[in-house]
Every structure is written in C-alpha cells, then in structure tokens.
Amino acid sequence: MSLLRKERANVKRLFSLTILLVIGLLGLFAPVLMPHDPLAVDISKKFLAPSWDYPFGTDHLGRCVFSRMLLAIRYSLGSALVIQIVAILLAILVGAFVALKRGIVDYLFIRICDILLAFPTLVLAFGLLGLLGPSLKNVLIALVFTQFIYYSRLIRGLFIGLNEKDFIQAARISGTSGIKLIIRHYIPNLLPPIVTIVVLDIGKVILEIAGFSFIGLGVQAPIPEWGMMVNEGKQYIRQHPELMLYPGLAIVLVVLLLNHLASSFKKLG
C-alpha cells in the first residue's frame, strides 16, 4: 500500500515536472516557435478572433497574443527562477559565514534581520521599487533583496542546527577547512530542505512579479509579461475578456504546478 502510494506520488511529481519543463523549453525556444513578431503593431488587425494564423487571436494593437504568451514565459517564469537562484546563493554565502563565525558577527546579523523583517515583505519591495523607479531590473533587485533577507536567516538556522552534529565535529577535528566543510558536509545534508524552500517560493515570486507588472511598476510596455498582459487587457474586459483570460490562466497553471511539485518534495523528506 505504502509502496503503491509512493509510486503514485512519483508519477504525479514526474507529471508536474514534465509539464513545467515543456513550458520552460517553450520559453527558451520562443523566438523560433513564435508565429509572429510579438512586438509588431498592426492596428488594421486588432481584436482578430483565434484562427490558424493567430491561435489566440490578436490584442488591441493587432499583436499576436500567442507569440506574446510564449515570449512572456521568459519574463514571468524566467525572472522568477533567476531571482530565486541569486537570492539562495547569496543567502547560502552569508548564512554559512554567519553560522560558522558566530559571536559578534552573528549577533549583529540577527539584529539587522530583526529590523529588516519588521517590514512586511511586499511593503519593503514596494518601498524599494518606489525609490529605484519602475522597471524590470528594479523588480529583480527588490525581490532578490527581500527573498535574500528571509533565506539567509533560514540558512543560518539550518547550518547552526548541524554545527553540533558528530560528523561535523569529526570533520572539524580532522582539520577540514571552512569552505570544504560547507561544500562537502553542510550543503549535501541541507540540500533537500533548501530545494523545497526554493521551489515552494518560485510560485510566490511569479505572483509578485506579475502583481508589480500589473500595477505598472515592473516590466514595461511593449515587453510581454503575463501580469502586464492582464493589465493591458483590463480596458477591454467588456468586449474581449479573453485577452485577460489567457495570461491569467497561464500564471495559475504554472504556479499550481510549482506548488504541487514543492509539496511533493516536502512529503519526500
């Protein structure tokens, strides 16, 4: 029974992973796969119904919605991946350093974190964005920063939890140096929780990027991003609600798959 359940969980995980990979590849090869130039404006072709030529029809500027959806994968899923990877790598560097040093460095680190975590994450991101000005680059900076604070504290905790373990002590006594200790002993043992956290939050980050772009603080026109496309479609909600439907559904699908993947990782260990 438990074996059967495990097998079923494996199949489900593989299923989500495959679809996500396909979506990722679609984004990667978007320039080849796009039937039209996603930025080409042609007012005479605006609001065309879906056809063989334009699978999802065209938007208010006569741009091919299907091509825009494909290219948007890079800006929605792609930027979220970049944010998560940069944030977790920085966090591992800082968290590991602080956890191995302890003492005054650790104390200062915790105090600074306390102050930074006194701001709700989204509000901190809004504040940073407000000062840096609206752009995709600044959204990346703001979100890397907010994710980094949270992760570095988490990683510090995970590392300190291992500090007292026998095998770490043994490695220390036999003279393993700091960097080797981190790479050979700490990280392999902490990989499962770290991967789970990173995957779990990709969905959240996609939603945040989309939210910022929707408000007009993130990806700027004419670059397609799903949140941005919802924003563009909102004026035509009465006549052409499908313009908002496609990008919204794409966000929901990707975030659902990511959440499913993360929860199956969590069950795994």
């Binding site: 701001f119 709700p120 509000v123 964005l129 407000g130 989309a210 603080l217 909600i237």
Partner: protein, 317 residues
C-alpha cells in the same frame, strides 16, 4: 531555563524602541538609494529648469545639504511630531493625506479578516473531520487554487462575473456593504487557503491526542469534545499566523485597491511611486512598519497568554 510570561513580555516590550529606531534609520537611509536628486524632481514637477544654482538653493531650503546625522535628527524630530514632510506633488503635509486614506484601507483589511475567519474555520473543520473523503478533496483543491491565483486577476474575474455579467455588485467605488464584498474577498482568498490548511492539520493532530480518547471513554458527546476541547486547542496556534496575515493584507491591499479603484493607502502609494513623490513613499513604509511591529508584538504576547502549554511550564518553574 524557562522565562516567565511576564519577563517575556517585558523583554519583548523593551526591545521595541531599538527595533523602531532601526526601522526609522533604515527608512531614512532608504531615500539615499534614490538614483536622482530629490531637489531636481521637485523642480521638474514645478516645471522649473533644474539649473545648478536652482538645485543648490532648493537643497539649502530642504536641508539636504547638511551632514547626514543632522538631517536624520531633524527628520526624526519632525516624525515624532507627526510631521513627515510635504508631498512633492500636492505641496500638502504627507501625514495629512496618508492618515486621510488610512481608514479606507483599514475598512478593507478588517472586512477581509472577517471573511478569512468566517470562511476558513468551517472549511478547515469539515476538511479535518471528513479526512480523505470527497468533500475533503474538494476543499483541498480549493485551498491549493486559492494560493495559486494572482489577486489582481481574481479581482477582474469577480468583477467580470458578478458586476458585468450578473450585475449583483457595483464595479468600483466605496460606501455601501455591496461595494466592500468583492475587494474584501479578493484580498482574503490567498490567506483563506493558508488558514484552511493550518486549521485542518491542527485539528487532525489534536484528534490523535490521548485526551480525546479519554474524553470519549468518559462518554462525552463527540460534538462536545470537538467544540470544548479540540477546537480550543487547535485555534491557539492560529495566533502565530496573525502577523503574517496582517502583512499579506497590507501588501495585497495595494493591488486590490488598484483593481477596484478603492480610495485607500495602496492606491495613493502607487500614484506616488509613479510621480516619484519620495516623502509619501517614505512615510508609507514607516507607518506600515510601525503598525506591523506593534501588531507582531501583540500577537507574540497574545500567543504566550493563550497557550496553556507555555503557561503550565510557567507555573512549574
């Protein structure tokens, strides 16, 4: 060593000034990240040519040519008198406008909070009691969906369905209860999902405790066990979620207010960000951080007072 509840509260309250000091310094330093000179922004907004002399004169007037520490002390002196500077755009005191917009956001957040509790409690309880049944699966699907839907998109779906197609609720504006329903629901939904998951697993865990078995053996009715014992214990850990919920509501409000044209703090913030009205952004971040810090303090203390485990340990020492 276990510290007593009162010691804990005292310590927590004593660290408050330090956190607030740090928050104020950080909020002040924030403005230094600005890639452009504030004096230049003001001149441009006033449609004055930003010449070097004009910028210099304005900097002296604003006090931004003074040393950093002096600037901070002057600013914090103003803040303590509720003077957060003047808006670049409207030339009115920032505090005046922000506090005028605060009630609308609080109204929305409170309504969302009522919805969160009102919807997630019954769903969580049903889902736990009928674990692994069809109804549990449906509720769990709902919770997974609720955390995966972008708030702004959900807002538009609700608008399209209930306002444009069915005509039950007004599309935007504020005033009556009907205006409040859709935005509050859109704001509440992501947090509802988290609460349902939390309540479900808390109840399932409590049901496996020995005291439940003992209560059954004593012949108590299941409904009595559920309400008097299980629910009481399962609800206490919810207090740890309150801080996060407040953060979600304040952050989410920025987006929801934009969708439903709700005249609150969030919309004002976005407007100010786009106009590069830095004093407003700074003031907003500071006010929200202070609210958040105080709320977190309250939940920590509340949790400490409510949790019988912690109180018991307290007495034992």
């Amino acid at each position: 060593m276990y510290e007593s509840t009162w010691m804990f509260c005292l310590k927590r309250i004593l660290t408050l000034p330090f956190v607030l000091l740090g928050v104020s310094i950080l909020t002040f330093v924030f403005i230094r990240f600005v890639p452009v000179e504030p004096a230049e922004v003001i001149l441009r907004l006033a449609r004055v040519a930003p010449t070097a002399e004009a910028i210099q004169a304005l900097r002296e007037e604003l006090g931004t040519d003074k040393p950093f520490l002096i600037q901070y002390l002057l600013w914090i002196k103003g803040v303590l008198h509720l003077d957060f500077g003047t808006s670049f755009v409207s030339k009115l005191p920032v505090a005046h406008e922000l506090f005028a917009k605060l009630p609308a956001t609080i109204e929305l957040a409170v309504a969302a909070f009522v919805l969160i509790l009102g919807i997630s409690m019954p769903l969580g309880i049903i889902s736990a009691l009928y674990k692994h049944s069809i109804i549990d699966k449906v509720i769990r699907l709902f919770t997974v969906m609720s955390v995966s839907i972008p708030t702004f998109w959900l807002g538009f779906l609700l608008l399209y369905l209930f306002s444009l197609k069915l005509g039950i609720f007004p599309t935007n504006g504020k005033g009556t209860l009907a205006h409040l329903v859709l935005p509050a629901f859109a704001l509440a939904l992501p947090t509802i999902g988290l609460f349902v998951q939390f309540i479900r697993s808390a109840i399932i865990e409590e049901l496996q405790q020995h005291y439940v078995q003992y209560a059954q053996l004593r012949g108590l009715k299941n409904s009595v066990i559920l309400v008097r014992h299980v629910l009481r214990n399962a609800v206490i850990p919810l207090s740890t979620l309150l801080g996060m919920t407040l953060g979600n509501l304040l952050g989410g409000a920025v987006i929801v207010e934009q969708v439903f044209s709700w005249p609150g703090l969030g919309r004002y913030l976005i407007e100010s960000i786009i106009n590069r009205d830095y004093p407003v952004v700074q003031c907003y971040v500071l006010i929200i951080a202070v609210i958040y810090v105080l709320a977190n303090l309250c939940t920590d203390v509340l949790h400490r007072l409510l949790d019988p485990h912690l109180m018991m340990k307290d007495r034992r020492d």
